[in-house]
């Protein structure tokens, strides 16, 4: 019984408390503290990655302690390949997020000694990291649920409390729009979470315990078909809001638009992954039959998300909103891959979660740097940046190309896997989904053309190129995108066994190729 997993989650939590405690004057100390903690967490995550044996048991590094006997709740942690990959992603992205948001939370007026936004900002980020990590590690439904919900609070403060410095409608309007976005985010997710609470309780009433590890040993508890379906819907609703799946997506554009770029990355690259991850781990494992029953409907919704999100991305005037809708489209792919119920689809989906995290981070953070320079999120306010800031433009382009999943960059691998996986079982849906790759190219290139190319706009003149700090943030992401695009094997090796397990949970085999089937 190791305490590695606990440590991985506890470290950022403690770090958050420490950071929050830093006195107002020592602002930079707080920043450095947060950065160091996040890096230490990354180290721990790396250890988890190393200690994890892809060929080994389903759940590894498990910890199990009694917690709330009356609710049948245990403090049970354990990771399978999927969780490990996502923990690694989270731990990896947070330092970049912190570094990218280095100056985002510097207080405007330093007179107020009590008000310590900077400390709060970084503490909240670390708190989110801790909660995300533990919800990836939790193998107890209730434990997961608690952090799945609690996560909302720090996120809510991050969205509502810290926005872009410059805002086209002035600070007053900005704060109202921010809190609107924050409240919208919270209410959507809280509503989803509470519906799920009903389902969680229902599940307890049926099963009498919450332990996935027990389920992995003794199989899914018996329940009536209708019950299973209702419970499944309860769970899925919450995850679909989080993910987000059309038509529950409208909170995402607002949230990403109003929050600072690093927080936007935190939302879409880290927190939302919990939703898709949970579909894979909880929906499929706890309610295999219901999952199969709901598959067609979900696939259709996912398909709508893909096309709809892409089309809306094309129609956006605000580059953050554009990225948000692009993400919605990508989440459509992920969900499609999960419910295609093929090993290619689900491996692809898992890979997609990782890759989308990295690619969105790259694109969004660069966009954030751009916005911080010009003080506007409107695409129309830019033009010809490529001429004055070639490196910025270049990284932006790479981020964009990753978003349109260009072969050779990481997202391509996952997207193609998802498409193949879906196509293998649902050809029509697969083919329609491929339209998404054309649309992705459209919105990305339009964005790049309007902002980076063409004659240099007056406001853009003399815009500085990427600074060292910013380069430190972006360069590793770009390298990672290329590496995972050329050599994704390390990730797939970790993920594959877990996916195999999940598929066996739902008792699905991959469709045989026609030729072999004929033999």
């Amino acid at each position: 019984m190791s305490f590695l997993l606990t440590a991985t989650a506890a470290l950022p939590a403690l770090g958050a408390i420490a950071t929050a405690a830093v006195p107002a004057a020592k602002r930079n100390a707080a920043k450095w503290l947060a950065l160091i903690v996040s890096l230490a967490t990354l180290v721990l995550a790396a250890i988890v990655l190393v200690r994890f044996d892809p060929g080994g048991d389903r759940y590894q590094l498990t910890e199990s302690h009694a917690w709330i006997k009356d609710f049948g709740v245990r403090y049970e942690l354990g990771v399978d390949g999927i969780a490990v990959a996502l923990i690694a992603l989270t731990a990896l992205l947070i330092p970049f997020i912190i570094l990218a948001g280095w100056h985002d939370a510097d207080p405007l007026e330093t007179g107020n000694k009590r008000w310590r936004p900077t400390q709060g900002f970084f503490a909240l980020i670390l708190a989110v990291e801790a909660m995300v990590i533990i919800s990836f590690e939790a193998t107890d439904v209730f434990l997961f649920y608690i952090f799945f919900e609690a996560m909302l609070i720090p996120m809510y403060f991050l969205i509502g409390g810290f926005g872009d410095r410059a805002h086209e409608h002035g600070e007053e309007a900005a704060s109202t729009q921010r809190s609107y976005a924050a409240v919208k985010f919270l209410l959507y997710n809280l509503a989803g979470g509470l519906i799920m609470l009903a389902a969680v309780i229902g599940f307890y009433v049926v099963a009498g315990h919450f332990s996935l590890q027990t389920i992995a040993e003794n199989g899914v508890p018996e329940m009536a078909t209708s019950t299973e379906r209702w419970l499944f819907l309860g769970f899925f609703f919450a995850f679909a809001v989080k993910a987000p799946l059309w038509p529950l997506h409208t909170w995402l554009p607002n949230a990403m638009q109003e929050s600072t770029a690093p927080v936007a990355v935190l939302i879409t690259a880290v927190v939302d992954k919990v939703g898709t991850f949970a579909m894979l781990r909880f929906c499929l494992q706890l309610f295999p039959e219901a999952s199969k029953w709901a598959t067609p409907a979900i696939l259709v919704l996912a398909l709508i998300s893909i096309i709809y999100g892409a089309l809306l991305a094309v129609g956006q005037r605000d580059m953050k909103r554009l990225v948000a809708y692009a993400s919605i489209s990508h989440f459509g792919f992920i969900i499609m891959g999960i419910f295609a119920m093929t090993s290619q689809g689900q491996s692809g989906a898992t890979l997609y979660m990782v890759n989308h995290g990295i690619s969105t981070a790259a694109l969004m953070l660069v966009a954030g740097f751009l916005i911080s320079r010009r003080g506007s999120r409107l695409i129309a306010d830019y033009g010809g940046v490529q001429k004055v800031a070639p490196v910025l433009a270049g990284t932006f382009l790479i981020g964009g190309l990753a978003t349109l999943s260009l072969p050779g960059l990481a997202p391509f691998v996952s997207e193609f896997l998802v498409l193949v996986g879906t196509f293998a079982r649902y050809p029509v849906i697969g083919i329609i989904a491929t339209l998404g790759i054309v649309l992705a190219a459209l919105y990305t290139l339009v964005l790049y053309q309007r902002t980076m190319t063409g004659p240099v706009k007056a406001e853009v003149e003399g815009m500085p190129d990427l600074r060292v700090r910013e380069l430190v943030v972006v360069a590793p992401l770009v390298v990672l995108l290329i590496f995972l695009g050329v050599y994704p094997k390390p990730v797939t090796d970790i993920v594959n066994p877990a996916v195999k397990q999940t598929l066996s949970d739902v008792q699905k085999q991959d469709p045989k190729p026609e030729v072999e089937a004929a033999k």
Binding site: W67, K69, D70, F71, G161, L187, I201
Partner: protein, 550 residues
């Protein structure tokens, strides 16, 4: 002593010859908590009579705290002595039950009482008048607000130290209320804790008019409700020929020992039983503030002095739900199929009603009042479960809820401007900027109210909903989560206001309280978080306390 001999205390004595009146045997030990509190209250009155003004305040506070602490110790001792479980029994010749639920609730009430005393005794918030530190109660309740007599009273540095004995009396009544084992004791206890509360509502230092209005409304409606209760009691008595819970239960089940012809006549008449039940239950629902008997809540909560509101909101709910539980579980289990559907309906309208109306509230105290209504609905969901789990879940919820409530109202007392407490929401704008700590603490309480995980509110909500679901009330659970979602909205609204909106220049200041209020708030926060993170121990307590003695 056996249930058949119940009431010899009052009735059979009359038939005996005059020279040998059997002295009633009273288990003083088991009744000690109540006796201590009542006794202390009487001492308090004597203090009022004989102790010089200057030191009354200290004497009163001292007595009250000591008494409540002692009473709590007694409760703990009883519980440790197994009176909550194995040795649970009927005391005072059948008038009072000493069992798990009773002790648990008494303990909760006493703790709430201690915190209540602390908030009552707070004297740092208001600016000192003529060099005298003042608390939140009128210098002289009798004097007309703004009149010369009042000015004189303030100048003389009078203080309404009677609030402490009143508080003790109220607590005494509340201690009996959930333990009452016959309808008469129930009624008496009801009055004993209601009347002092009526008075306490009336004696606010600031905003006296509202305070008095609150008192009048509370009093008239309270009396109105207790009249209904009493009539219900009369009908039940008429039905069963006795007011003892045990006997009534037997009559309802038809397992009563000997059936007199009169009893045979009334037993047949279910109308008596049902109407009586409905009216008694209504009286209790009034006290817990369930829709449609909730309408006094917002006004009284807003008008009463905030410390009183806090104590009332916490303790009254605990006591009233205790009594309701005992009534439904001990007296009327046989009638379950009749009252359950009705309670379903009440619970649903209460949850939804409270949550929805709260959305548009603009006064923080009214807001909390409506939220307390919604919470009454949630607790009712646990009551309906009619299972030991249901009982323990309700007990747990009450414990958790009362601390959050007292803490929240204590925070409300801190936010003040020229006119006293600044309770209008608009004045709370940007509080997070001015004093992050207070705002954060209040946010914790709000999140607990909203039932966010890792707070006691979530554990409690989960417990009752779980019990309800196991009791086959899935629909209630669904309505419950929906109304929680609605409720979340207005809690969030306050948080938004505190943290995300720009502070007003003429905004209120946050007074630095004395250790008393700090303790109250601190305990509130600690309990909220502990019960949220590691509730198991307390769930065990509630679980052991889950069974009523018959």
């Amino acid at each position: 002593m056996s249930a058949s001999a119940v009431h010899s205390l009052w009735t059979t004595a009359a038939t005996d010859p005059i020279d040998k009146i059997g002295a009633p045997d009273i288990e003083y030990g088991q009744l000690s908590p109540t006796l201590i509190v009542i006794g202390a209250a009487i001492i308090g009155i004597l203090i009022e009579a004989f102790v010089p003004r200057k030191i009354r305040y200290y004497a009163q506070v001292f007595v009250s705290v000591v008494a409540l602490a002692a009473a709590f110790a007694a409760v703990v001792a009883l519980a440790a002595g197994g009176y909550g479980t194995t040795k649970a029994g009927i005391a005072a010749m059948g008038a009072i039950a000493v069992d798990g639920p009773a002790l648990f609730l008494q303990g909760t009430i006493l703790l709430a009482g201690i915190l209540g005393v602390f908030t009552f005794a707070e004297r740092r918030l208001d600016p000192a008048a003529h060099g005298n530190k003042v608390d939140s109660f009128a210098a002289q309740a009798a004097s007309v607000p703004g009149s010369d007599s009042e000015k004189a009273a303030v100048k003389a540095g009078f203080a309404t130290t009677e609030v402490f004995p009143l508080l003790l009396f109220a607590i005494g009544g509340m201690l009996i209320f959930p333990a009452a084992n016959d309808l008469l004791t129930l009624f008496i206890a009801l009055e004993v804790f209601s009347l002092p509360l009526y008075l306490l509502c009336a004696v606010a230092r600031r905003k006296r008019l509202m305070s008095q209005e609150a008192a009048v409304k509370y009093f008239l409606l309270g009396a109105f409700a207790s009249a209904f209760t009493l009539f219900g009691i009369a009908l039940l008595y008429g039905y069963a020929g006795s007011v003892s819970y045990a006997t009534i239960a037997q009559v309802v089940d038809g397992t009563v020992a000997e059936i007199t012809p009169a009893l045979a006549g009334t037993m047949g008449n279910d109308a008596l039983l049902l109407i009586g039940t409905a009216m008694v239950v209504m009286g209790l629902l009034f006290k817990v503030g369930a829709v449609p008997f909730h309408m006094w809540t917002p006004d009284v909560y807003q008008g009463a002095p905030t410390p009183v509101t806090g104590f009332m909101a916490a303790a009254t709910k605990v006591a009233a739900f205790g009594a309701l539980l005992r009534l439904l579980y001990v007296v009327l289990p046989g009638l379950r199929w009749d009252w359950r559907p009705v309670m379903w309906a009440v619970a649903i309208v209460t949850m939804l009603g409270g949550a929805i109306v709260a959305i548009t509230q603009t006064d923080i105290k009214r807001l909390l009042a409506y939220s307390s209504i919604a919470h009454a609905g949630f607790i009712l969901a646990g009551v309906i479960a009619t299972s030991p789990d249901g009982v323990s879940s309700v007990l747990f919820y009450l414990g958790a809820y009362s601390f959050v409530t007292i803490g929240a109202f204590a925070v409300v007392t801190l936010v003040r401007d020229a006119g006293g407490e600044a309770t209008h929401l608009s004045k709370w704008a940007g509080l997070g900027r001015r004093s992050p700590l207070v705002a954060a603490v209040f946010a914790v309480f709000l999140l607990a109210f909203a039932g966010i995980p890792l707070t006691s509110g979530f554990a409690g909500k989960f417990a009752v909903f779980k019990a309800a679901a196991e009791g086959g009330a899935g629909a209630i659970v669904v309505v419950g989560v929906i109304s929680s979602a609605i409720a979340a909205f207005f809690y969030i609204r306050v948080i938004v206001l505190m943290f995300f909106s720009e502070p007003r220049p003429e905004g209120p200041t946050v007074a630095v309280p004395s250790p008393l209020t700090m303790t109250a708030i601190g305990v509130g926060v600690v309990v909220t978080l502990v019960l949220g993170v590691a509730p198991q121990y307390f769930l065990d307590l509630a679980g052991q306390a889950g069974t009523f003695v018959r």
